[in-house]
């Protein structure tokens, strides 16, 4: 599954960059994130509850940031697994100045496996997009609050 899109923040690039890479901010903004801790440079362990309504699964996994070119682009890989299956993904994010703020363009290849892939297929794409949207909205709020 490929997810791509853009999100615009009414904030300068450096600030958006900082927010996106701040583990504390990530811990607060990643939808369903119960726990996020750094285990190395640019590497985090996370426990995330993913799903909609009563259909939720807890995933334990790792997030790794790589090829950081502040404040322009970085890559992020994530892998998590839990009772309902696993999620793996590779995303590239790019930040660019736009009038009045910063545009983040993302492209992610996400692989979902196990029970959720089999039973939830119809909803996977939609739910993933929804969660991304939620994530960016929360980041925007964080940046706004910090301002």
């Amino acid at each position: 599954m490929t997810l791509d899109g853009t999100y615009e923040f009414p904030a300068p690039r450096a600030k958006v960059w900082a927010a996106l890479l701040d583990p504390a901010v990530l811990g607060r903004t990643l939808p369903g994130c119960d726990k996020l801790e750094a285990i190395g440079p640019g590497e985090y362990r996370a426990i995330v509850k993913v799903g909609v309504a009563a259909v939720k699964g807890t995933f334990e996994g790792k997030v790794k940031l790589a090829d950081l070119e502040p404040p322009t682009r970085y890559r992020m890989s994530l892998e998590g697994s839990g009772g309902p299956g696993f999620v793996r993904g590779e995303a590239s994010l790019e930040l660019a100045d736009v009038p009045g703020g910063t545009r983040v363009s993302y492209r992610a290849d996400v692989q979902v496996g196990g029970l959720i892939a089999g039973v939830g297929q119809r909803m996977l794409g939609g739910v993933a997009r929804m969660m991304l949207e939620q994530f960016f909205t929360r980041i925007a709020t964080e940046i706004g609050a910090a301002a």
Binding site: A53, A54, Q121, R122, M123
Partner: protein
């Protein structure tokens, strides 16, 4: 396929149930007919900490004719809607759609409110209630509110209900005279969730023009959808084959489906046009209009 452990509560009154929800919030899950929730629990896709069994709340199971509307208690079994003379008379679209839901043993247990609160976008009731402009009554400890169907369905399996709220009743207005309704769906087998389903509520004026039109789609988005632009195409017009076909094409663009095993997004979109047309045709036929 056995469910994970949970705490079980069977409140004897709505107030008690609401109090339990107030205490447990997101951890609690209401159990009505269980025809959607229990399969998810057996698969362990759903592992609620607390199951609040609403089945003792017998006074939430009723069908009541009101002035200009019919009120249905959320715990009313689907089977009742299939056979209730009040429903047949005052909300025939609900009677028509009910036999399409699963099979008799599913409908014997499954509830009207449960199906709506579960909000599977491919399910039939949500689209029908949307087309009928139903009003949902949501109770929480100490208060209640009304949510129009239009605002009730938020996204996949998600409604406007807060974790502390229970859907208690749905009211659907009695339709004006010269109104025809229909629901037609595409399924691979009898009783399956819809690949595409369309509900239509059409009212004709004395000149035979469409004076009121509600068109709702299921299976083609994260929620049931009102096809408002298609409605606009039809509004005020005299029905014709060309008009209905045009409405179908417009509805197709309003659909926002995803792929699954039984139909790609493209196919679902195309079928939206076909079934919008077929549903409108059937509703009009019931008004004596043959296209």
């Amino acid at each position: 396929m056995k469910p994970a452990p949970f705490e079980y509560v069977r409140p004897r009154s709505l107030a008690e149930a609401l109090e339990v929800l107030r205490q447990h919030g997101d951890e609690a899950k209401c159990l009505a007919g269980g025809q959607s929730l229990v399969p998810l629990m057996n698969l362990r896709l759903s592992k609620p900490g607390v199951v609040v069994d609403l089945n003792a709340l017998k006074d939430l199971a009723y069908v009541r004719a009101e002035d200009g509307s019919v009120s249905i208690g959320a715990l009313t079994r689907q089977r009742v809607l299939e056979t209730s003379p009040v429903i047949r008379q005052r909300a025939p679209l609900l009677a028509e759609v009910t036999p399409l839901i699963g099979h008799p043993p599913i409908r014997a247990r499954g509830t009207f409110g449960g199906s709506l609160a579960h909000a599977d976008p491919a399910a039939e009731y949500p689209a029908v209630v949307l087309a009928l402009e139903g009003r949902m009554r949501a109770a929480r400890a100490g208060s209640e509110r009304e949510v129009p169907a239009e605002e009730f369905f938020v996204t996949y399996l998600t409604t406007a209900l807060e974790p502390v709220e229970i859907l208690t009743e749905v009211t659907v207005p009695v339709l004006p005279p010269h109104t025809g309704t229909a629901f037609v769906e595409l399924t691979r087998r009898h009783g399956d969730f819809a690949i595409v389903g369309v509900a239509a509520v059409v009212t004709l004026d004395e000149a035979g023009a469409i004076s009121r039109i509600r068109l709702a789609l299921c299976g083609v988005g994260p929620t049931p959808l009102r096809a408002r632009r298609a409605e606009a195409v039809l509004q005020g017009q005299r029905p014709s084959q060309a008009l209905v076909a045009e409405a179908g094409r417009v509805a197709m663009d309003e659909a926002d489906p995803a792929d699954d095993l039984h139909g790609s997004a493209e196919y679902r979109r195309e079928m939206t046009a076909v079934f919008a047309r077929r549903t409108l045709g059937r509703a009009l036929e019931r008004l004596g209009v043959r296209l």
